[in-house]
Structures are given as structure tokens and as C-alpha cells.
């Protein structure tokens, strides 16, 4: 998963380095005297949680304050209040910037241009898609030459912003580009830039995503924080495990389902299998992709982690993938079979049905290993080869788990 940062890290580590004007701030824990002094200096401040909020943002947890006692109370309250189920790292207070004008900018890689693109809008503080085309402009940026002041200025002119301010803002935009390209970012937004009556410019909120594949983001010289997240223990452990190696995929996203435990292979196949399971009431526990020809040890540890977290609660084990191009089925299945045997030896017998469908190199040897293991473990099974469509197998698995669950409930 790509690293993301919010405004506080920008203020602490990036804004000065890249000469992007930004408001003053203090971070909780902070002394009452310092808060008092800052508010005397600023007039008023805004208390915010340091959290990577989703689409709904930090609404409800952002407060404008001018009294230092209130500010102190809010800093403590906001730091301890969850936002969209996420616990903030801390809370901070930024200088309130009275705005005469607001702008929005975003730099990202654009699938239309197949290059970076720079978007600027004169309507800040809202979703870019909600802004009419007449109030925003997107231009491609040459990835080698970067965004130059002339391009930035011209874009502002098109949106009707001329004069001295145009040139000052354009310089800020170029600095934003420099930060984007120098740190290996995948996208970065400043929403909004606030311009005071006196023409001072401030970057007043920020979010960015780094490209984990870009060496610059790995060697950035920044202390990127671990934001608390709402992810489940399985997602967290798999995220760390996945990042340890690029040999084979180890991708898991929990879905909150309670029935089918899916071990899936292939980015495309895993998506359509989960889609089919969800459509047919299979209630999959997570989305997984373990393709990309993982070596035995990698696959075994992946299976071990997933089994440890979820297998005990599952009603059906589904091992399914299309016809593999590279993934050795004998290797991956031997690893899964060994992990399953170990799980059973630690946790006791498991009598849930196992549905398997696969194709690819070493298929029959892999099926032979798995069949033997399931027979040893006395688990009911059905195996399909590459001549049965994976979506039909998924449909059957969804029916199987539902029917058996229904029967179990009836018996109870």
C-alpha cells in the first residue's frame, strides 16, 4: 500500500524544504503558554485532528478558536476523538488565514495524457469533480521538464487571474511541482490555497500519496509516520508481509464476510471471483491475490497468516484461480497443503468443505498433493480443472456454503 501523508507532516517536514508558504502551527501536546502566545499573535486558529480521513474528510472535528482555554480543551478532545473510525495520531492548531481568495491545485499522473497533469481550480475546499469546467483547468506536464512558471501562470490567466498575484501564485505552484517530483509522489493536493487581502499566499490543507515503487519515496529523508488505521489485524500483518518481498503477490483486503475463506490467484481472477461470490451470497471473508509465482516459503507463510486469522471462522475453503501462466501449481499447492496440515495439528480437525479450481504449470502434481492432504485431514472436497470456468466454480462454492449453512441452522 502506498504511503500517504496529511497536512501536519507537510507543515513539519515539507513546506519549508520546498519553500511552499504555509501557516504557523502548534502540535498537541503543547503548553498553555505557547497556545496563548500563538493565538495572541494570530488572532484565531483552527484545531484539526492528524488523521488520514476518507472522502468525508475531517468534518465535525475541525474547530475555529480564538480563546486559548477553549483551544487547549479542543486540542485534547480532538486528539482523542475517532474520525470515521480512525484514531488521530494527535491534534494540531494552525493559524487561521482570512481568505480573500481560495484556489485548489492537484498534481497527479493522468491516464488520459499518460504523463503527470496539473489541475488548478478557483474553487477551493470542495471535490474537484463537483467544480464546473469553466472554473478549473487541467494541463499535461512534461515529466522531464516539469511544470514551469510560464505554464502555471498561463493556466491562472485562462481562469481569469491576472497581474502580480498571478506571478506570485505561479511560483508557489512550481514549488509544489518540485516537491511532487523530488519526493516520488504519486499524487498531491493542496486544497485550498488561501490568499489574503494583502496578497499573502498560504497552503492551508494538504494530502499526498507516495509511489512505493519510486526509489525517491523510499529514500526521501523524511520521517513518515505510521497513521493509525481501521484495518483489521489480518490486513495489517499481510501488508507488512507483502512489503517484505516482490516475489509473488501476497495481497489481502478483508471484506467483513463470514462464510467463504478464499485463497485466490491472479489480480483479475481474484476480482471476478470475489464479485461472483458476493453476487451469489458466498459472503467472502476477504479479497486475496496470491499469484505471481510465489516460492514455496512465501506461499506457505502467506497461507499460515491467513489461516491463523480467519480459518477457524470459515464455513468453506475456496482455492481458486484461472489458468496460471507462470505460477507453479505444485509449489503453491504444496505450501498451502502444508500450512493447512499445520493449522489442523495446532487447532484440531476441520470439517468444512474445500472447493478447488485451478490450471497451470505443475497442475496435476499440485492437485495430487492437495488431494492427499485433504484425505489425510478427512476434509470433504471437490476439485475442478481449467476446463471449468472459475466463475462457475465460484457460483457453486457460494451455493455449497449457503446450503450447508442453511442445513446446519435447521439441524440446530
Amino acid at each position: 500500500m502506498s504511503a500517504k501523508i496529511g497536512e501536519l507532516i507537510f507543515l513539519q517536514q515539507l513546506s519549508k524544504r520546498f519553500k511552499i508558504p504555509s501557516p504557523d502551527y502548534v502540535v498537541e501536546p503543547v503548553s498553555q503558554t505557547e497556545v496563548k502566545n500563538k493565538l495572541q499573535e494570530w488572532g484565531s486558529g483552527i484545531v484539526k485532528p492528524d488523521v488520514l480521513a476518507g472522502k468525508r474528510g475531517k468534518a465535525g472535528t475541525v474547530h475555529k478558536v480564538s480563546d486559548y482555554r477553549e483551544a487547549m480543551q479542543l486540542l485534547k478532545k480532538v486528539a482523542s476523538t475517532q474520525v470515521g473510525g480512525l484514531q488521530p495520531r494527535t491534534a494540531y492548531m494552525v493559524q487561521a488565514v482570512p481568505a480573500d481568495m481560495e484556489l485548489f491545485t492537484a498534481i497527479t499522473y493522468n491516464s488520459r495524457f499518460l504523463s503527470p497533469s496539473f489541475t488548478v481550480s478557483l474553487k477551493g475546499g470542495m471535490e474537484i469533480e463537483s467544480i464546473p469546467d469553466s472554473d478549473k483547468a487541467t494541463i499535461p506536464v512534461d515529466v522531464f521538464q516539469g511544470l514551469n512558471a510560464y505554464q502555471a501562470s498561463e493556466t491562472l490567466t485562462k481562469l481569469g487571474l491576472k497581474g502580480k498575484l498571478n506571478s506570485a501564485i505561479a511560483r508557489c505552484f512550481v514549488n509544489q511541482w518540485d516537491m511532487f517530483i523530488s519526493t516520488g509522489m504519486q499524487s498531491c493536493e493542496i486544497n485550498p490555497w488561501r490568499v489574503t487581502k494583502s496578497g499573502q499566499i498560504f497552503a492551508c490543507d494538504f494530502k499526498a500519496t507516495f509511489d512505493e515503487n519510486n526509489f525517491k519515496s523510499r529514500d526521501i529523508g523524511l520521517q513518515l509516520p505510521e497513521y493509525p488505521s481501521a484495518e483489521e489485524a489480518l490486513d495489517e500483518e499481510m501488508r507488512i508481509w507483502s512489503a517484505e518481498s516482490h516475489q509473488g503477490q501476497a495481497h489481502v483486503s478483508t471484506l467483513g464476510g463470514k462464510k467463504i475463506f478464499p485463497i485466490l490467484f491472479g489480480g483479475g481472477a481474484s476480482t471476478i471471483i470475489i464479485e461472483t461470490l458476493a453476487q451469489c451470497g458466498g459472503d467472502p471473508m476477504f479479497l486475496s491475490d496470491f499469484g505471481g509465482n510465489p516460492p514455496y516459503e512465501r506461499m506457505k507463510k502467506t497461507a499460515e497468516i491467513c489461516f491463523r486469522h480467519k480459518l477457524g471462522d470459515a464455513s468453506l475453503l475456496l482455492i481458486l484461480g484461472g489458468k496460471a501462466n507462470n505460477t507453479q501449481i505444485d509449489v503453491t499447492f504444496a505450501a498451502i497443503a502444508d500450512a493447512l496440515e499445520e493449522w489442523v495439528s495446532q487447532h484440531g480437525p476441520l470439517d468444512i468443505p474445500v472447493v478447488i479450481g485451478r490450471g497451470g504449470p505443475g497442475l496435476v502434481q499440485g492437485l495430487a498433493v492437495m488431494k492427499k492432504t485433504l484425505e489425510n485431514l478427512n476434509m470433504p472436497y471437490v476439485f475442478f480443472g481449467p476446463d471449468t470456468p472459475i466463475t462457475l466454480v465460484a457460483e457453486y462454492a457460494a451455493k455449497l456454503v449457503n446450503y450447508s449453512e442453511k442445513k446446519v441452522k435447521e439441524e440446530k
Binding site: 483486503s253 505444485d330 476439485f383 471449468t388 466463475t391 462457475l392
Partner: protein, 691 residues
Amino acid sequence: MRAKSLSDLLKKGDRIAVSNITGREASKVSIVSQRYCKNITAGWALGKEGQTIEVPGIGAIPVFGQFNELMAAFPTTKKPNKIIVYSPPDAVYGDVKEVLEHGKESVETIFIITEHVSIEVTAKLKSLADTSGIDIMGCNTLGFINAHDRVRTGAVGGDAPDETFQKGSVCIMSNSGNMVNTIATYIKAAGMGVSYGISTGKDSLILTPVKELIPLAMKDPRTSMIILYVEPGGSYEEEAVTYLKSIKKTKPVLVYVSGQFAEGRNISLGHAGAVVEGRNSMATTKMKMFDDYFGIPVFDPERPKIFKDLLSENKRGIRVNALHDLVTAARSLTEVCGIETDFTPVTRVELKPWFINFGDFERKLPSSMILQPGIISEPYGTLVERYVKSGFGRVPSRQPMRNSSHASSNDGATPRIYGYSVMSLMRKGSFAESVLLYWLGQPLKHEFEAKLFEMGLIAALTNGPGTISSQASKLSASAGNPPNTAMIATLAAIGNVHGGNGQESAKMLIEVFGQSGLTDPYNQSKTPDLNIIVAEYVKKFKKKKALAKDAGLDYKKVPCLGHPVFNKEPVNYDPRERVIATYLEENKIYNVFLDFYQRLTRGMTVAGVTNKVHAVNVDAALTCILMGIAWPFLVNKKITVERAVDLPFLAFALGRVAGGAGEYLDHRESGTDMDMRVPVGECMYLGRIQD
């Protein structure tokens, strides 16, 4: 885009160079590709110049250190025009730049297979490629297949492209590489084959997206239908639909859009590019966009008639909700659009279970849920017979073994063999027991087995100084070599016809008894009827021998019979085999394999297969001992057949190498330097003097 047609991207006659060809995946895929279509000219990998990638039966792929060296090695007409990049992510930019610099005269397309290339590098590659006029597919493409020309790049089709891709008229374009194969397999059931299978890649930036490829497919003479597999993320399909709307006559398009389930959940799908950024790249938006373009709702397989009517009004195509509905939808489209199917379908889209065993769980299911195993198609049927249904020997599974071993371990304090402490083996066991533990992975079941094995090792020590293995040791000593060289020389001079015949004998015994139900080779009361087995074997052998003789061919003899040293004795016993047989008799131990061998020698003479009285030689006896030891492990699938077959040769080599050491010690002490040399006067030249 440089390519003006799909075949410009890959056709027969294209010459391919592969970067980082010595890598794990690149070399494996290149070998399969070379077997399939022989289109790889060469590869390059830093520091690996001079190496080759051997392709059995085809020839070697040369490896150069750098791309410019590779290009310099070929004349202009033979220089590669397609490039496959398998370089590590951080090396992709440099390698592609090298290609653009040194290959601009000949290179037309670069396929970047590498995953995890940074998005910044991807954008830079696009910029460079546009400047150079070279097309780039990827990054993170699986490759491309031209089924009519039977050529591919990358791993499309896996290790058996012919199995999946039958030539036909459907062009498959997919974000997912695996889905190219899967869809090609599905649509066979609609009687449709493939013109081109294209994996566009699914990183955030797709450098040759569908909006570029669809116009080429529209004018491709081999393509009459396009199938798109689409994921969330990107604006590629939106631009493709804009193009489709702009043209008057289109070929029908079948679309499957995946990823709808992920909407509203904070999860990432399997591919890097399947990240929704904005409403327009969501799966539901893409679904609606295609439905609007087609002018009809998503395909419903339950109402084919209604959809045929809808399709006949508007022949642009249709979207399906389940991937396997592509088959029914494709059938409807062919009928409505008057497209001829490519072949008569031989398969149907249905559940075809290979193995099923629900046990007690079956009682919980209605009859509609209980499936019956079907016929497993080839080549899988034969493999299933071999690996699954044959209840003999363990099925091996493979894994990288560079730093791991099942056989030994050492935690820094205790070296172990298959988990057994070497120190405890030293205290309680024997050398023979320990060797067999190392070779079998299990302790012996009977005490007498170690004794028998040791007798076999003693017999293998020597058969006199004239044997070629002893001669090799003496030759080495005579040349002044150290002891290890003499031992190596001894080992180097044994082979299939000297010492290795035990392997053939083991194969024969497994073939004869493998399906006989034999479980305990030491229990005479439970052995199958040897008279019948011998009679059948002799009969088959006699027939084979007669046929071979009629055809003037050599025939495969019964292994380990009629050893040259003993086969002229009036009573044909190998005295070393007699020692083993006597030990067995005295200790009331039965060995079914030795019994079989002894009956076989008599049976061959009685049946007139040979006029000699063959002896069961010591190699056969050693094999019978080892098969007796290994048999229960084979039956219980603890060891592989391959391992069991190697045991006799290993035992002979172990005994004989100790014998070779004895010859070395003697020769070094008493021989003179170069005394094994044959004097010139004793050597004969058999040719004609030429000058």
C-alpha cells in the same frame, strides 16, 4: 502509435531480444516461447555475457552482457525488432533507454513485463518512446499472442499456448494477463478462436491502452469480434467508447467490467492501476458507459431470445455480468451479426469436477448439488493416472532449495539427518543405518535391513583390478593425483553398463510389482502369485525380443542377468548373490524380489527365450535388498519412485568408491609414475596417413 495493424505489434518472422534473460521468470518463459514459436533471437543480462539459455531440442539462446553488444552481433536484417523487458523495476528505465539508443533503426515494439515500475519512470518511458517512434506495451503486461501466426511474447498461454489458443476471429484485450487465457479458454465453447490475445497491463499508466488497440482491431481482417476485460481505474475505456461512437461501422464488442463489489469499500484490488480516482473511473460508471453505447441492458442468459432481438436491432455488442456468460453472449452475437464460428465447439461451459469426495457432508446436500466426476481431458488425463490415481510413491513438489534441506540441519549445536541427531546416530546406529536414513528420510523398519545393505556394499567394493572403475582409480594414481581425484575417477568410470544397471532393475521391479497390490515384500504369504507374474513377464519379453529381432533392432535386455564374469559357469550363480540368498534363508527372511529374479532366470530358459542359464547377479541382489527396504515407503507415499530407482546405483557407487580408494592407496605405494601408460608400440592407428 507506430503500429498500423495488430500484426505490426507481433507477427511471424519478428525477431525478439529479451532483457535480463537469465532471470528466474525470463529464462523459464523464454524456453517455453522458443519451443512454441522459436522467435527469440538473443537475450542480454549484465555480467552474464557468453552464457546461453539451453532449449532442449531447439538450440541455445545466446546471452550478451549489454544490448549494444547484442545488436552488434547481428547483421542488419537479423537484428531484433521486438524487445521483451524482464529487468528488475529499478533497471527498466536504463534498459529501455539503452534499447532506444542502440535499437532505434530496427526496434518497433517494447513489451515491458516488469511489475512495480514506478509511475514516474512509466511516464518517462512513454515520453521517450513517443520521441523515438517506438511502441511500448505495459508496464506489467503479460505479453501478446498472434494465434494465426502462432507467435507470442511474454507468458501469454502459460507453458502450453497451443492448449489455450486456437486460431480464430476474436481479439481479446484485457487489463489482466490471466484473463486473456481464461477468456480464450471459455470462448472455445462458443466455437470461437482467437486472432490476437493482448494483455495491456494494469499499472496506473497503460502505455498502449484499448483506445489505441481497438481502431487496429476494427480494421484487422482476422478479427470479427472484440472481447474486453475491464477493471476500474483510468479513462482508457471512456476514450475507446468515444472512438467507437465516432465510427459508422463497428465490429461487435463484448465487455466484462469487474470490480463493482469494491465500490464503497476502502479496499484495493489486485492490480496497481485498479484504483478508483474520481467517479469516471469507477466500475459502475464504466458499466453504464458501455450499456449506453450498446443501447441495450446487460446480457441476461436466462432470456436469450429477448437479447437476440435487442442485439439484432443494434449490433454494437453487449456487456455481460458474469464472465462465463461471454460464451452465450458470443453465440448470440455470432448469430445476430452473421459471423461464422471458427470451429465446432467440443466443450460446454459447465461444472466438470475432476475429483470429488464429500464424505458425510454429502448427506447435507440436495441431489442437485452432488456432482459426479467427469472425464478428464488430455493431457491431464494421463498425468492424473500417473500422479493421482497410481497409488505408488510420493508425488514430488518443487521449491527453491538453495538454502534449505529436508535431509539435514544444523542449529549450531546439533547436526541432524532428517531430524535425527548425528551424535545419537554415532552412539546407537551403524554407518549403514545412517546412510539409509539419509537416503530414505525414514529409519529402517527391520534390523536385518542394515546388515543386508552392508553386505551389498561389501560386494560392491571390488570385482578385481580389471574393472574399469578400479582401472580409473589406478590411472589417476599413476598420474600423480591426490586421493580425492582417484575417488572421482572411480565414480566417473561407472555408468549405466557398469554399476548402473541396478537402476534399470529397480524400474523393472516397480513396473512389475507397482500395480500388483504388494505391500510387504518380506511376507511370502501375502505376495502375489509369482508364477503368473513371471510367466506374463517372460511372455511379453519373448514377444518384444522376437519383434525387435525381426526388425533388426536391438532390444532391451532383462537388467542384471548374465553378468559377463559368471555366465559361462556350469551352475550359474553369482557367488556374491549366493551369500545374500544364504543369509536370507538362514535367517528365514523372505524377499519377494529376489524370489522373482530367481524364478525369472529359470522361466527364461524354460520358455526358450534364451539358451543360456542366466545368473542373478550381485547388482540384482543389491537392488532386491534396496527395493525390499524402500517398498513400504513407496506404498505409503513417503518417498518418490524416482528416489527408489536411484538407490541401487547410489549403493553401488558408495561401495565402489571405497574400493577405488583401496586401489589408489595400493597403486600410490607400489606403482611407478605413469605406469598405466600404454606404450606407443602397443597402440594401433586405424586410419590412413594423410601427409
